[in-house]
Amino acid sequence: MSSRKPYVRKRYWNEPEMGWYERAYFFEVWRGVRITGGVFLANLWKFMTGRKGALTAYYPEETRADYAAHNRGKHILTQRPDGRPQCVACNMCATVCPAQVIEIDAAFDPDDPSHPKYPSRFEIDYSRCVFCGLCVEACPEDAIRMVKETPDLPGFDRDRMWLKQEELLNWQPKQDVAKPYPDAGAGRTRGAP
């Protein structure tokens, strides 16, 4: 019993030492208040002169401009020169989709021998989509792509988060398709199916 040494707290070589200046506390408080108050006043001045005192983007009203070019955002369906979808309704994207959010109804167009099968309904459930990009990789026709932005992504109602075919088809650069088509649809007066 008597051989047990009393506990001695270990002293480290770099233990913080406080002089009277730190111990008096008020000077250090004043230093801290000057720092935070300076940040506050600077941000208040920015705010009052119409700028933001923060890097925060007011999502969804604002979106950041610096999305990467390869960011996987909203899906689009590419279009043939006459505005109809490039998609051949092969269901590969719907099959590979891990979240199973793509629903395609195929239809037959006898007037168009070069592209007889087309989607009469192509919908994506955005409330479940995981933005993995597998649908884009699976597509043999370069018919589905993802743009870098995600406009109007949030919603208040799950039923309204289905992305419909019209919305998928409103991507503007129509000529940018990988597969050149013979002008089978040239001169057709009928609208897109």
């Binding site: 935070t36 506050f40 005192g53 923060a54």
Partner: protein, 378 residues
């Protein structure tokens, strides 16, 4: 209705409106100021939609306070199974009421001559003037400390009657902390009482209306700078806010003495905290920042030392004084919020040794020096 009674009613209405507005607005100010201090935006999503239109009033998130209040009013008022139902019900009121009552003795403006403001009622008022203070008591400062003492009972009763160990610990902490800092607060004020020879807050403020050495305003902070710092420190500790928020320390005691309170009862603790920010600001303004006084402003208008004068009507002077007081109080509230978002919380032994080993000797030394100086000068 006698004119005195009417004037008192108007004052009470004004004081309640000011305090509750401060309580509501300070919740917003605190959120926004904290956001600006840490490079954030702050709450800005709650809005009021004008009915039948799509016009949404966001107003920088000002309605978040309203949304919070409405939520607190509509929530279930959960009650614990406690042996002391009366104490449990009294707790929030005992914490809330004294804070509001302190404002009764604080002068928020100079002398009001209602006959000059409303010539149609001049006969009824008969030329009487009223100091702008709900209760013009000789012992104003003592009333402040008396009500401060009652606030301790509120916190302790709430913690004791909740039959919860966390609440109990919070109540014990609140009791010892408030008593320690009440002592410091009283001793710092004694210096001012020595200088001005009165505990009447209105008389104190009137003595702060001149200038010292020709250019400094004769405010208490010029005579007693150390007492001012100590008083503000003790005031923040009285209010149980960070860095002195040990009675409700979230990370240790859930929320301390009001852990078991829900809905609007909990809201009353929160509201009394925010009102107390304003009340401490008002007390500090009254004692150390000259209350409603601006340098060179007299009851007749501005009188500059170079000889220039600006004549102002009675209504204008009263308005300037009231706005000056409110502006000073608001700046102090903002400063308290700055402190709250700057400093980390004390440890419990640090808190008590800070009060007893640092603030108390300092305030006694300040008192002794003041006493010697006053004795030497008179």
């Amino acid at each position: 209705m006698s004119p005195d009674f009417a004037i008192t009613l108007v004052y009470i209405g004004y004081a309640l409106a000011v305090l509750l507005t401060f309580g509501a607005v300070l919740t917003w100010v605190e959120r926004k100021q904290a956001a600006l201090m840490s490079d954030r935006i702050g709450a800005n999503r709650a809005y009021l939609r004008i009915p039948f239109t799509q016009v949404k009033l966001i107003w920088l998130g000002l309605f978040h306070g309203m949304a919070d209040g409405l939520k607190l009013l509509l929530k279930e008022d959960f009650k614990p199974v406690t042996y002391d139902k009366l104490g449990y019900a009294l707790g929030p009121w005992l914490a809330f009421t004294p804070v509001v009552l302190v404002f009764a003795v604080i002068p928020f403006g100079g002398t009001l001559n209602p006959g000059l403001l409303f010539p149609g009622l001049a006969d009824w008022f008969g030329g009487r003037t009223y100091p702008m203070q709900i209760a013009p008591l000789d012992a104003g400062l003592l009333v402040v400390f008396a009500f401060g003492g009652i606030a301790i009972i509120g916190a302790m009763l709430a913690g004791w009657s909740s039959s919860n160990k966390f609440s109990m610990l919070g109540a014990l902490r609140a009791g010892s902390q408030l008593i320690s800092y009440e002592l410091v607060m009283g001793l710092t004020i004694l210096g001012l009482i020595l200088i001005w020879g009165t505990v009447d807050l209105d008389a104190m403020v009137r003595q702060q209306s001149g200038t010292v050495l020709g250019f400094l305003p004769a405010w208490g902070i010029v005579y007693q700078p150390i007492a001012a710092i100590l008083f503000l420190t003790a005031g923040i500790a009285e209010n149980k806010r960070i860095p002195f928020d040990l009675p409700e320390a979230e990370s240790e005691l859930i929320s301390g003495y009001f852990t078991e309170y829900s809905a609007m009862k909990q809201g009353m603790f929160m509201l009394s905290e925010f009102i107390e920010i304003a009340v401490i600001g008002a007390l500090f303004t009254t004692l150390f920042l000259g209350g409603y006084n601006l340098p060179w402003l007299t009851d007749a208008g501005f009188v500059f030392p170079g000889g220039g004068t600006i004549e102002l009507g009675h209504g204008t002077v009263v308005a300037i004084q009231v706005v000056t007081f409110l502006a000073k109080v608001f700046l102090l509230c903002s400063f308290q919020i700055l402190i709250r978002w700057t400093l980390p919380r004390f440890r419990w032994d640090q808190l008590l040794s800070f009060a007893w080993k640092f603030l108390l000797p300092l305030s006694i030394a300040n008192l002794v020096v003041t006493a010697v100086a006053v004795w030497a000068l008179t």
